[in-house]
């Protein structure tokens, strides 16, 4: 089964769960006076659930044939290994680490580490250029956001 049909299968499952919530569980907590309304909080979701299930089935069962394009796709997911998959995954990991470290480690350190590790993962080895640029960039962004725009960003780690 091609990836696009797997995706529609996942969406179908999500839509079934969504529809179940809309049709069977949501209305239980509705106060009696609201039950006299022509529209309930679940009305629109019910419509959406039915339409989404129908459309995802339409794709899943292959009613729609994609037009054959002679253009080579940007990235062929079947040969994902041929691309720089490791680099992409490392960067995603770094983003998660950044999200977890931002509060405890402080903005300046976390950003400096993210920028230099990101460039390192992509193959940058000239540290005498990379490290100063990362440090200056983190400080400039912190200054702009915290001092100029007035949005608080904790600059230092939690123990300072």
């Amino acid at each position: 089964m091609a990836l696009d049909r797997w995706v529609s299968f996942i969406i179908l499952c999500a839509a079934l769960a969504y529809g179940y919530a809309a049709f069977f569980t949501m209305d239980a907590s509705l106060p009696p006076f609201m039950q006299r309304n022509p529209i309930w909080p679940s009305t629109f979701p019910k419509v959406l659930a039915v339409l989404t299930i129908a459309t995802s089935l339409f794709i899943l069962l292959g009613f729609e044939k994609a037009p054959e394009s002679d253009q080579e796709p940007d990235i062929d997911y079947r040969r994902l290994g041929d691309y720089h998959l490791g680099q992409a995954l490392t960067l995603l990991g770094l983003m998660v680490a950044y999200a977890l470290l931002l509060r405890p480690a402080g903005f300046l350190f976390a950003t400096f580490a993210f920028l230099s590790c990101g460039a390192f993962a992509l193959g940058e080895r000239k540290f005498h250029i990379l490290l100063p640029i990362a440090a200056i960039a983190s400080f400039i962004v912190w200054y702009l956001v915290d001092e100029v725009l007035g949005i608080f960003l904790r600059p230092w780690p939690f123990f300072i």
Binding site: L3, D4, D74, I75, A99, L100, T111
Partner: protein, 504 residues
């Protein structure tokens, strides 16, 4: 209208707003030039900045400037590197890049700048004429018509975005609508579909979603396939002048394409990309035989046509946004989200309630075009140096700015994890060839669609409003036709190709 113009002039010519236009155009040009970053990603990254400014007119002026700048910057990299930064400028590389190869890079950039300027200014003039007319009509609309109009807009976007696979585009739109129902709605005062999670109480954040849908997958694609960020040291750019004769040759092209591009831009779903391809095709078809030979080998007409059309279409796409509050493209949908975040509701009342915003935007379009012409033309050789930023530095910075953008809006580190998660989902969707713009537009329009639907349900005590109001019914029929006809035609074309059926 004169009164409105004066209000707009006084608002747009404040020092702050002038700086916004200039800053927006410059930022847009710089980032738009980088291959792989489209106007949608750039505007998404700029939104947190715009929202913190606080003044809605200044914010939308900044974002509109970024939009224009991005389209202009995209054409610079199309011409110099044959690596369009923006889908709307792909057609510019057909003739622009051959010109640059022939050593006429300077001339090509000048033609691009002049054509963009003319397209943008004529577009702004048409916007000034048509937007008030349209918004007078729109004042007659009821919530039922608004509901139907949004359905038309969504189905038009789905029909255009998924050329050939309308089903996927519709599925994405529906997914966006579904995501919009998560959280606490204004009408019901009860949390829906939050699964008891506090973080979902206020729904998904629109900025996070915009970043995750556009900026993040594009950056990941750049990492995966280094060829996408084709880089080359650009040579010296000189000889920016064009001759009088060449000017006379491209003038009628610019005139025609400004008008055609504008009206294509007004249509929901069709944007700068379609306008530029159509403009190129039309000009090639009506050119003389000898000129047709030139197209694709460095014809100035072939460069002027898409450049004019894409800028005029950008302006045109503001018409439905400002008068109906319904975005016609992904980029204007992001602008709509930014406006709502600033407590401004675009729509027919905008001109009456907050004329200073409406007119300031229009006036600043002129200023933006002037800035692009005056500032960018002499700066082009220097701006082109951005293309030499090594990708090892570029990509971490793009990722960092997406993270920052979604963190600033919420000041919540969990938001960053949601961003990464949704970004991965968006990348998978992109692999599977699902269009992402309909999802975001569905998400942005979802709330309004439900509100108008609920209001008409309450007014008519049931679903009867669809039959009672002929205009609503008419619009809904159009919406269905928009979706059904393309897939029907595609099916028939396929059947004919296989020699199965020959109808009619």
């Amino acid at each position: 209208m004169i009164e409105g113009l004066l209000i707009g002039l006084s608002a747009a010519f404040s020092i702050q707003n002038l700086l916004m236009v200039i800053a927006g155009c410059l930022i847009g040009t710089f980032i738009g030039m980088l291959p792989g970053l489209g106007p949608m990603s750039i505007i998404a990254i700029m939104i947190p900045v715009a929202i913190t400014i606080g003044d809605p007119s200044a914010a939308i002026i900044l974002l509109a400037g970024v939009y224009y700048g991005a389209i202009f910057g995209g054409s610079t990299s199309s011409i110099l590197l044959n690596a369009p930064g923006v889908a709307g400028t792909v057609a510019s590389s057909f003739d622009g890049y051959p010109m640059a190869r022939k050593g006429q890079a300077g001339k090509a950039l000048t033609i691009a700048a002049i054509a963009s300027f003319a397209g943008g200014s004529i577009g702004a003039l048409l916007l000034m004429i048509f937007a008030p007319m349209l918004s007078t009509v729109a004042l007659l609309f009821h919530s039922a018509e608004y509901f139907a109009l949004m359905v038309v807009g969504l189905s038009a976007i789905a029909a255009f975005a998924g050329t050939g696979n309308v089903g996927k585009a519709i599925l994405m739109t529906l997914l966006g609508l579904v995501m919009a129902t998560v959280g606490e709605g204004a009408l019901f005062n009860m949390p829906r579909f939050t699964m008891g999670l506090m973080d979902l109480q206020s729904g998904f954040s629109f900025i996070t979603l915009a970043m995750a849908m556009f900026a993040l997958p594009e950056a990941l694609f750049l990492v995966l396939n280094p060829k996408r960020s084709a880089q080359g040291a650009s040579g010296k750019i000189e000889n920016l002048r064009i001759t009088k004769e060449e000017g006379r040759k491209i003038a009628p092209v610019i005139g025609r394409q400004s008008i055609q591009g504008f009206f294509i831009g007004v249509l929901p779903g069709a944007g700068a990309t379609i306008a530029s391809f159509l403009g190129y095709a039309v000009e090639r078809n009506i050119a003389t035989k000898e000129e047709q030979e030139e197209f694709g080998k460095g014809a100035i007409k072939g460069l002027a046509a898409p450049e004019t059309a894409n800028n005029a279409a950008c302006t045109g796409s503001f018409v439905p946004l400002l008068t109906l509050g319904i975005p016609g493209s992904g980029t204007t949908a992001i602008l709509l989200g930014a406006l709502i975040a600033l407590n401004v509701t675009p729509g027919p009342r905008l001109m009456i309630d907050e004329p200073q915003i409406f007119w300031a935007v229009i006036i600043s379009m002129y200023i933006g075009n002037l800035v692009l012409l005056i500032l960018n033309l002499p700066l082009i050789p220097y701006i082109a140096k951005v293309l030499a930023i090594p990708r090892n530095y570029l990509i971490p910075f793009i990722l960092f700015f997406t993270l920052m953008g979604s963190y600033i809006g919420q000041n919540n580190a969990t938001e960053l994890l949601i961003l990464v998660g949704m970004g991965i989902c968006a990348t998978v969707l992109k692999f599977a060839d699902y269009p992402l713009a309909p999802l975001l537009i569905g998400f942005i329009l979802g709330g309004m669609l439900e509100d108008n639907f609920s209001r008409s349900m309450q007014l008519y005590d049931g679903i009867g409003f669809i039959v009672d109001r002929p205009m609503t019914l008419g619009l809904l029929v159009i919406a269905v036709l928009l979706v059904v006809i393309p897939s029907y035609r595609a099916r028939r074309a396929k059947a004919r190709q296989e020699g199965v059926a020959e109808g009619d």
